[in-house]
């Protein structure tokens, strides 16, 4: 089945490249019109977008529901932080290495999880997600328990400031996150359009048929986990760069947040992943703007975003499970 021509691969790459460039331009444009606070929010969107993509690939495309993406993010974050602190690597070196670490974690998870389906998979990954704080406390000396490992984005290199002037802290966060988000987008787009994407969709839609058509699917399932883990790990590393890598940074609710974003926006497409991330990140701000007129106690306003996003999740799943982006977005013939 290696009949896919080089020309086809090239056209896929070109399509993905076009999307990526469009994306980068759009982000930069938006950033230039935003104030500092919203620039930081945008940076957060880019960071979480990569994490949500990991859910899209794993669940939307390949049909495996994992509630432990937050744990994989934590793996990426801890790898990077340990390398930066103990080995004094710069983030540009530490992050790729962290990605490798996450891939390994994904491999382990995949091997354990490939046999599981449905609620067993969901439940097991949930348990793993909850295990993070425990691990951090167990290996207190290295992982520093609840206290965590402080890291940050650092300062832009001299050549950068010479070329573009001194960016604000929020802008620099954005400029660090953007190339990674762009690469993630490019790769995700490639996968979705390629034969690999088709195989994953086959696994999702009809396991028995996929097996009959020769797809080796425990190997593919594990591969999905590895790929998804790399996205999650990258996201987790960038997420940690906002100041701290520790159990409080990667709670279970983070996994649920990613899942909510993916479902709300549209679990089957990259565009859906992006929309979902935007919704989830800006929702607290929007709610604040609405509630501002009412004099509500702190109690209420603290939990309102969680209430609204959970309600939206339920409504989406019951009324329109395909999410905002729906299922029509990709122009290829297969689903």
């Amino acid at each position: 089945m290696r009949a896919v021509s080089k020309a086809k691969n090239h056209s896929i790459a070109r399509k993905s490249l076009r999307r990526t460039i469009f994306f980068v331009v759009a982000i930069l444009f938006a950033a230039s019109t935003f104030d500092a606070y919203n620039q930081a929010q945008l940076a957060l969107v880019l960071i979480l977008f990569i994490g949500v993509l990991s859910v899209t690939l794993l669940t939307g495309i390949s049909g495996q529901l994992s509630l432990g993406q937050g744990a994989l993010m934590a793996v990426g974050g801890y790898c990077m932080a340990l390398l930066m602190i103990n080995q004094s690597y710069s983030l540009w070196v530490a992050i790729p290495l962290a990605i490798v670490g996450s891939a390994l974690a994904g491999l382990l998870l995949g091997i354990a999880a490939a046999r599981l389906t449905g609620p067993y998979l969901a439940g097991t990954t949930l348990v793993i997600a909850l295990a993070i704080p425990t691990l951090a406390n167990r290996f207190m000396s290295v992982l520093k328990g609840d206290e965590g490992l402080p890291v940050d984005v650092g300062y832009p290199p001299v050549w950068f400031t010479n070329l573009f002037g001194e960016p604000s802290y929020e802008q620099w966060q954005l400029y660090v996150a953007l190339p990674f988000a762009a690469i993630a987008l490019f790769l995700a787009s490639n996968i979705l359009l390629s034969r690999t994407g088709r195989m994953w969709r086959a696994i999702r839609d009809n396991e028995t048929a996929a097996a009959l058509s020769g797809v080796n699917f425990s190997r593919q399932k594990i591969f999905v986990f590895v790929v998804s883990a790399t996205f999650a790990g990258l996201s987790g590393a960038l997420y940690g760069l906002r100041g701290l890598v520790g159990p409080s940074v990667y709670p279970v609710s983070l996994s649920l947040l990613l899942l909510t974003a993916a479902v709300l926006g549209g679990i089957r497409s990259i565009f859906g992943a992006f929309i979902g991330t935007v919704i989830v990140v800006f929702l607290p701000d929007w709610i604040d703007a609405v509630l501002h007129q009412f004099e509500l106690s702190e109690q209420v306003s603290n939990f309102m975003p969680a209430l609204v996003s959970s309600l939206l999740l339920i409504l989406t799943v019951v009324i329109n499970p395909a999410g905002v982006a729906g299922t029509h977005l990709h122009k290829h013939k297969h689903k």
Binding site: T59, G63, Q64, L65, L67, A112, R115, L116, T117, G118, P119, Y120, A122, G123, T124, L126, V127, I128, L130, A131, T134, L135, N137, R138, R204, D205, N206, E207, V252, L256, L259, T260, V263, R268, Q299, V300, N302, F303, M304, A306, L307, S309, S310, L311, L313, I314, V317, V318, P321, A322, T327, K335
Partner: protein, 303 residues
């Protein structure tokens, strides 16, 4: 020897509660084919209501009964408002995939959990509260030694065992119980027998809701009440259900006690911090060695 006894008793008492949680999960799983992650959220919510009632001066027992009723009603409402519309959806493109069909109810139940936790935060703030126990929590004194077994433990075990006995009798001997079993095993044949399967399914949810509320009431006195405390219990209950066999109520009970023992012994002989890792290890072991659980049927649904 002392430690061993203490671990044994604690394991029995805690195990009884986990058995109850696992039972609730299994009832909904068999009755509706869904793993209800919101279950402990329901329990948390009804325990908060009980707590508020007690704070306002009502008797513990009144609050107890109300909480269980609230749990049952909540369960039924969840089925009617969320789960039934979900399963009635016409086959859209998204739902034609097997795994999405299985994943969507799970996502819905996670959403419900989120709503319940957020509502609890809004209504009662996330402050931790104590919750009273109806019986003393100090150990019995026998022959001058303080036993690691309290009257509350006796209460817990008595309640759980009688609930289990009553449940078994209910399912085996009553018409409604038969209808619930039939609906769970083969809803088409059940419908053709004139059984109102929608109603019966909601009953399963109500039952499960009541069971989990009971579990929440029994376990909260030994920890604190906050919107997130019972998350851990859900994980343990899930593991217990998997260990025992997700489609077997008897298995759920056995699984609960087994897991309770494991946790107890790990707590006493190792450190409580390792409990989580122990649970994870047990879960993975079972899923690798005997995925259907101790009493699970061989070709039971795995999706």
């Amino acid at each position: 020897m002392d430690t061993f006894l203490a671990a044994l008793f604690s394991g029995t008492s805690r195990g009884a509660i986990y058995a109850l949680v696992a039972l609730g999960l299994v009832i909904v799983w068999r009755g509706a084919g869904i793993l209800n992650y919101a279950q402990m959220g329901q329990a948390m919510f009804s325990t908060y209501i009980a707590s508020t009632m007690i704070t306002n001066g009502n008797s513990y027992w009144l609050a107890f009964v109300v909480a269980i009723l609230v749990g049952a009603v909540m369960g039924a409402l969840l089925d009617i408002l969320v789960m039934r519309p979900l399963s009635n959806k016409k086959k859209t493109e998204l739902l034609s995939s097997e795994s999405m069909r299985a994943a969507i109810p799970v996502i819905a139940s996670l959403g419900i959990l989120g709503v319940l936790q957020a509502l609890a935060g809004i209504i009662w703030a996330a402050e931790e509260r104590g919750f009273p126990a109806p019986y003393a929590q100090e150990g019995f004194t026998v022959a001058g030694n303080v036993m690691p077994f309290t009257s509350f433990d006796v209460f817990v075990i008595t309640v759980v065992l009688s609930t289990l006995a009553l449940t078994t009798l209910f399912f085996k001997k009553t018409g409604v119980g038969l209808a619930m079993r039939a609906t769970a095993l083969n809803s088409e044949v059940a419908r053709l027998s004139g059984i109102r399967t929608n109603f019966t399914r909601s009953l399963s949810w109500a039952f499960s809701g009541a069971a989990s509320s009971l579990a929440g009431l029994l376990i909260t006195p030994t920890s604190n009440l906050s919107p997130n405390t019972l998350d851990l219990v859900l994980i343990i209950g899930f593991t217990a259900a998997v260990v025992g066999g997700l489609d077997s109520p008897a298995g759920a009970v056995i699984g609960g006690f087994l897991v309770g023992m494991v946790i107890s012994f790990v707590s006493f002989y190792d450190t409580p911090e390792d409990v989580f890792l122990a649970i994870l290890a047990v879960l993975i072991l079972v899923l690798i060695i005997r995925p259907r659980g101790i009493l699970g049927a061989k070709d039971a649904r795995r999706v």
